[in-house]
Subunit: 367 residues, 2 copies
């Protein structure tokens, strides 16, 4: 299976003289029009000069503050398993407990640990579960690249979603690297799904996650299909790391543009550690190469600066090819997962996105 | 009205200490986590170094050929009205008629000129109007930046859509620059709409267009609402030039990345010529600043490299804010309007997009 295997089932005619001419009809003003330069050259890489990216004035002042932050740098690549462990298990800031309590209070949720399917989870319950959502549940798979966001620090999106859209959320505290490469995290997610999908009608349950959580949402559906388990009623996959290999246009176009994520170095090392010897294009670790037929309705989110813009839109293409009802929202000016940070910072774009997610789950989940 | 006016009706709390802390919860591994660097700095422009963009291997070989073409250069900016006229009226290549006939034959359509509402149009009829589409019509507004694609050379998308999805299309040959700045092209489009919306039930009629055509689609709906005219049943707006001012993130992030479009220089001059003294953010010439309430279902298309990615996703945000059923499709690796070129070149991604447009109009238009 390779990156273009998705196209093998399509009829493809070799470009003839007509094909070489017609771009001119389309673009009318391009320099290459009618002169055949295109077909003669073909498939060349291109150099983009250095340039300055201003903070866009097409977003709210609060989001401008976030976009204007200096880019964050990834940690140095750990050299030993012990160094990986030290990174993954680094202690939270001393005032974490107080800040987390304030965060939960701000979003009006209560958090309680509970085991499902033998896996540690948190039940995040809003003060008010909205009428109509009482027979419904959401399962959350957190971000953090399998090397962070353990325990309560992985509950950001679960708290935001529970609080903003009024659902009870079961958030999975799945196992992390370096001790637990693939398939440990997915095994945990599946064990939870196996049990939770008996607690309510599966079509009443939504699954959500962002970044590796977004990728795990896709893998959960693919694996549930393979294992003959019921499927959730709808899923939200935010900026999914759907391709662990450096395949996809935005790994290059948004390199250095995304303020929070770059592939070369740290995250490439994480990808290899997680894949544990598997090809990075193995559909089990890179679900964009998996099967999307029969998926429940899917909401995808990304941003114009997201390094994983292509990881997201390639999933859209596969879903559309499979005839799955799909909604894609692209956030102006936002880097990887900025929408979640925006929601925590009271940038209006954050709450707005989650209001769309609320509408989506409300329309698509059973009751 | 300015670029951020869309946010004025939202509640915005000043960022407190909690807001400065919580991004750390979200990103967990960023360098700025927990150290407050963000709020201290704020709103800084950022330099992106020069880099090489490979042709993505996540698209079909045929599309790779298109993406690998050398970037097209815009013409020099004409210095006088006569030079503008010479550019706009430059003769087609000597074999245009034959090539155009082959093009129509390839897509299985017949083309006939016909006047609607006093405006020159072409009726593009497929050999087979699909069952179910016989009481339906599409109106097409072509690309070309108001300085190109006059006459039959502006029919590319109309021919592709009529042929691939089996609808009769009325394509408007609206007036162009430099003699006819705003509102001439829109006056022509509205005159056609006024007449055509009486030929079939308006809810059975779709309107489509790309680039300036995509922008005119949005303006047509906004103006029809203002003038109390019926609205189309559904619209497709491809990579709309919805903001003639250089506002929006992708004007910068995709500058030099888009192989077919750049703003500074030629297209900025076109924007000013078209606006004819109006502010480039006037909602009459930049519909992203207009009102989107009551829009019919809307299909938006853009690409990861599209200079107008932000012009497209900002329209999505406005439509979602207005509660309009909206679908956005983002094409992997594609520059401005590459999807149409792809369709003419037999890159499978092109036909695939138009099959989605077919499904969209089929679901959304009346019969």
């Amino acid at each position: 299976m390779n990156a273009t295997s998705q196209h093998t089932d399509r009829t493809s005619r070799p470009p003839g003289s007509l094909s070489r001419i017609l771009p001119a009809l389309a673009l009318a003003l391009t320099a290459s029009a009618w002169n055949g330069a295109a077909s003669a050259q073909g498939e060349a890489a291109r150099t983009v000069p250095s340039r300055i990216l201003p903070v866009p004035d097409s977003v709210s002042p609060a989001l401008q503050k976030l976009i204007g932050q200096p880019p964050s740098l990834p940690p140095a690549i750990p050299k030993t398993p012990e160094e990986w462990k030290a990174l993954v298990n680094r202690p939270p800031p001393p005032d974490f407990a107080q800040r987390f309590a304030e965060f939960c209070d701000k979003f009006g949720v209560a958090v309680a640990p509970q085991v499902f399917g033998g896996v540690r989870c948190y039940v995040v319950t809003p003060r008010v579960v909205k009428a109509g959502n009482r027979g419904r549940l959401l399962v959350g798979l957190h971000h953090g690249g399998w090397v962070g966001a353990a325990g309560e620090s992985g509950l950001t999106e679960a708290v935001v979603i529970a609080g903003l859209i009024g659902y009870k959320v079961i958030a999975v505290d799945y196992r992390l690297l370096p001790d637990h490469p693939f398939p440990a995290a997915m095994d945990d997610a599946m064990a939870v799904w196996r049990e939770v999908s008996k607690l309510a009608r599966p079509e009443n349950i939504g699954v959500f996650g962002s970044s590796v959580g977004g990728s795990m949402v896709l893998s959960l559906v693919q694996r549930a299909k393979r294992e003959g388990l019921p499927l959730p009623g709808a899923v939200m996959s935010g900026s999914p790391w759907s391709d662990l290999s450096k395949t996809g246009d935005s790994y290059y176009t948004n390199d250095g543009v995304d303020g929070d994520l770059a592939y070369d170095g740290f995250w490439e090392a994480v990808a290899k550690l997680y894949a544990d010897g598997r090809d990075l294009k193995d559909p089990l670790v890179s679900p964009v190469y998996g099967d999307f037929h029969g998926f429940p309705p899917t909401y995808l989110v990304t941003g114009t600066r997201d390094l994983l813009l292509s990881c997201t839109v390639r999933v859209q293409q596969r879903l559309l090819q499979a005839g799955v009802p799909t909604e894609l929202e692209v956030e102006e000016g936002q880097s990887h997962m900025s929408y979640l940070v925006a929601a925590t910072m009271d940038a209006p774009e954050g709450a707005e996105l989650y209001s769309h997610i609320a509408r989506f789950f409300d329309e698509r989940l059973g009751r």
